[in-house]
């Protein structure tokens, strides 16, 4: 094989992985037209690529079999050790099948203590406490944190047997409410105008007991007998205690004469060696709770969106094709533009989506996002730079930046901003949109087998008029955040907000990826800050 031109070797590699800018690509293509050595080299590299891909494909069954082997070994292995401070919250999550970490904290006000005791002391204590809790008709618990030397309420839980549970938690200043009646769940984030109704996240409600009984192996060392006495709300209680092996942490639990948990307190050691309480919870039993407490009423102006009744229609309506500004069908997929906004500084905001056509779904079957394995989409897309060289020799392009992404049952939605670069006039009234659309999974296999094209760069795909009104970047960022928040209860596992963060710790592997977060994992102001950092970074590239 003859050698390629040295400066083109890397570009040819980049050509294969679609990593070339449009300009370089055009330049390389022109060069390939002239240079036989580089053409030969490209063919050789393509052959290498094909062979390596085929070899990698052969590894799929190897990995599949390896999975079974690993699982078999794990099933025979000893149980993992447990991190006690984390364990109780996590247990609650399993118990209640609660998918949302934020609520686990609120709910754990009641059961943090329960699990801690259940999983700890002698069986008699465990059994008695369990029985006492089972008997409770209602439970009301309040959790507090010490912040700046002051106790502040951070969570409150109401539970009534046969009625349901209400959890309220203060998440970075925002009140998050979840109501669950065992059949349905309603979730509302304070300050937003809608609440989401979904299927119950904890159908067993307080069916904690049976599950905990199976978890006896997880018992931690709690003091086997009371270490003191305490009066809680006028009720005489015994104090049980435990501390971590290094002695920097302690937790006291108070049980009344009926072995019911009346509360707990967590302590840490100060520099002076004293115990300082930093978290506490108090629990009351069998007090009447107003029925209205369990009603999914979140105040005036808050609409309940019923995703149970609407089902998949909910998604179809939310990102519907009928009202889309533009649709393009290609390779059994439909690409759509749902929203275009003119944003300050020449930025263009877009909501775009891709989904399989009805025919594709009929032929290849629906995609269920809840499956752990397999592809989540039949195809995806990337917005392209729409690079152009202008008659005066200057160039202009957009740098696409994805702010958030949703994947649900084969539907992929992206919220993006196009950052103008190069030579742009002061006022732009239209947006030339280009995109790279590719199939994936079974659809890709089908087309490849048939020798048909399975991906394409549409350049341009469409020219969209920009609205006259200019919106602020803050407005756009906060609207994406609000939308993400609204969707999270329904598709929290797959809605990803992307925020650029400078790498702070090079030792943490993985910090190099643009982190993907859910709205519940990041407060809106921090996300906006990170978005702005990312934008500055992208502008400077």
């Amino acid at each position: 094989m003859t050698h390629p031109c040295s400066e083109r070797e890397e570009q040819i590699s980049m050509l294969l992985s679609n990593d070339l800018s449009d300009e370089t690509r055009t330049d390389l293509e022109q060069h390939l037209g002239r240079c036989a050595a580089c053409r030969d080299y490209l063919m050789a590299v393509r052959e290498d690529d094909r062979r390596l891909m085929a070899f990698a494909d052969q590894m799929s069954p190897v990995v599949a079999r390896l999975e079974s082997r690993v699982l078999e070994t794990v099933s025979r292995s000893r149980s993992p050790k447990l991190e006690p401070t984390i364990q109780t919250t996590l247990l609650w999550r399993i118990i209640m099948k609660n998918r949302f970490a934020g609520f686990a904290v609120a709910a754990s006000v009641v059961l943090f203590v329960a699990t801690a005791v259940f999983l700890s002391g002698p069986k008699t204590l465990y059994a008695q406490t369990l029985k006492a809790l089972e008997k409770a008709r209602t439970v009301h618990a309040v959790g507090k944190d010490k912040r700046d030397g002051q106790w502040q309420q951070n969570a409150e839980v109401w539970y009534e047997r046969g009625v349901g549970v209400v959890e309220q938690e203060n998440v970075r200043g925002q009140i998050v409410t979840r109501i669950d009646n065992g059949q349905y769940q309603w979730k509302h984030l304070g300050g937003t105008s809608s609440a989401m109704k979904t299927r119950s996240a904890d159908p067993d409600a307080m069916g904690v007991v049976a599950r905990l009984l199976n978890l006896s192996e997880l018992r931690e060392r709690f003091s086997s007998g009371p270490v003191g006495a305490k009066t809680v709300d006028g009720v005489e209680c015994k104090v049980y205690s435990r501390s971590d092996p290094e002695g920097g942490w302690r937790m006291d639990v108070w049980l009344d004469g009926d072995m019911r948990i009346r509360g707990w307190e967590k302590f840490r050691k100060t520099a002076g060696g004293d115990w300082e309480a930093y978290q506490t919870a108090s629990v009351e039993y069998d007090l009447p709770i107003e029925k209205s407490r369990f009603a999914p009423d979140f105040g005036p102006g808050v609409t309940v969106i019923d995703t149970v009744v609407e089902g998949d229609k909910y998604w179809e309506n939310r990102y519907d094709l009928k009202n889309a500004l533009y649709t393009q069908e290609a390779f059994g997929l439909i690409f759509a533009v749902h929203q275009v906004k003119r944003c300050e500084g020449g930025l263009v905001f877009l909501t775009t989506s891709i989904r399989p056509t009805t025919e594709t779904l009929r032929e290849l079957g629906p995609i269920d996002s809840t499956r752990g394995a397999g592809s989540l989409v039949y195809g995806d897309f990337q917005l392209d730079s729409s690079w152009e060289r202008l008659p005066d020799g200057t160039e202009r392009l957009y740098q696409p930046w994805t702010l958030a992404e949703l994947i649900h049952n084969g539907l992929q939605v992206k919220w993006s901003i196009l950052i103008p670069k190069g030579s742009w006039p002061e006022t732009v009234n239209e947006c030339r949109l280009s995109a790279y659309i590719r199939t994936r999974s079974k659809l890709q296999e089908k087309l490849e087998k048939a020798g048909a094209q399975w991906y394409q760069r549409f350049r341009p795909l469409v020219t969209l008029p920009l609205p006259e009104t200019t919106v602020s970047l803050s407005g756009v960022i906060s609207s994406v955040y609000a939308e993400a928040q609204q969707i999270e209860p329904v598709a929290g596992h797959i809605l990803l907000l992307r925020a650029g963060r400078p790498q702070t710790d090079p030792k943490i592997e993985g910090s190099w990826v643009t982190p993907l977060v859910k709205p519940s994992q990041i407060p809106p102001d921090q996300w906006e800050k990170e978005c702005r950092t990312e934008l500055e970074h992208l502008r400077g590239l």
Binding site: E9, V70, G372, W512
Partner: protein, 177 residues
């Protein structure tokens, strides 16, 4: 039911639900295998090391501080096990790619790929890592660049060099046959 996050699955594991770990194994087995394969360059050893990585991950879950950092943590375990493997091999404690005594029940590699597999094993690690991450783990060059802390252009250079070296090794082998 919604797909569970790593945090959910780890929480369930910590509470004794072994089945939850299966979800993590299925989610990351390909990636861990790619890391091991890229590091040791040998499929059989990579399989063993992948198994050991997940097992160690399971029994040491209490050491994982941030549940959201499960994969990076697992990657560190895998890398350490691979390095340990090299050390033991150096000391003669492990043999490399012994022929199996019994028929190997694992899916076999087609003959045309055997040479390729051997050639990949002979690549220097700085070329093998990007190559395996790219082809076996399906990572983008940008992602690889970040993982290996190098410029994206360097990843392309290394991919080019890796392919070139593979071609050389394969033609060398053909020449010998």
């Amino acid at each position: 039911m919604a797909e569970q996050t790593d945090q959910d699955l780890i929480g369930a594991c910590r509470a004794g639900d072994r089945e939850a770990y299966a979800g993590l194994v299925r989610r990351y087995s390909r990636r861990v295998f790619a890391i091991c394969y890229a590091t040791v360059g040998n499929r059989d050893d990579a399989e063993d090391l992948t198994q050991e990585t997940f097992l160690r991950g399971f029994t040491h879950l209490h050491c994982l501080r941030k549940a959201g950092q499960f994969m990076p943590w697992l990657r560190t375990i895998a890398r350490n096990l691979c390095l340990d493997f090299f050390r033991r091999r150096k000391r003669g404690e492990v043999l490399m790619a012994d022929p199996p005594e019994r028929p190997d029940p694992r899916p076999s590699v087609s003959p045309e790929h055997l040479d390729l597999q051997e050639a990949i094993a002979r690549l220097p690690e700085d070329l093998r890592l990007p190559l395996v991450f790219y082809y076996f783990d399906g990572r983008s060059t940008r992602n690889i660049a970040a993982a290996l802390e190098m410029a994206e252009a360097s990843v392309h250079t290394r991919l080019s060099r890796a392919r070139k070296e593979l071609r050389r090794l394969l033609s060398e082998k053909e020449g010998r046959q």
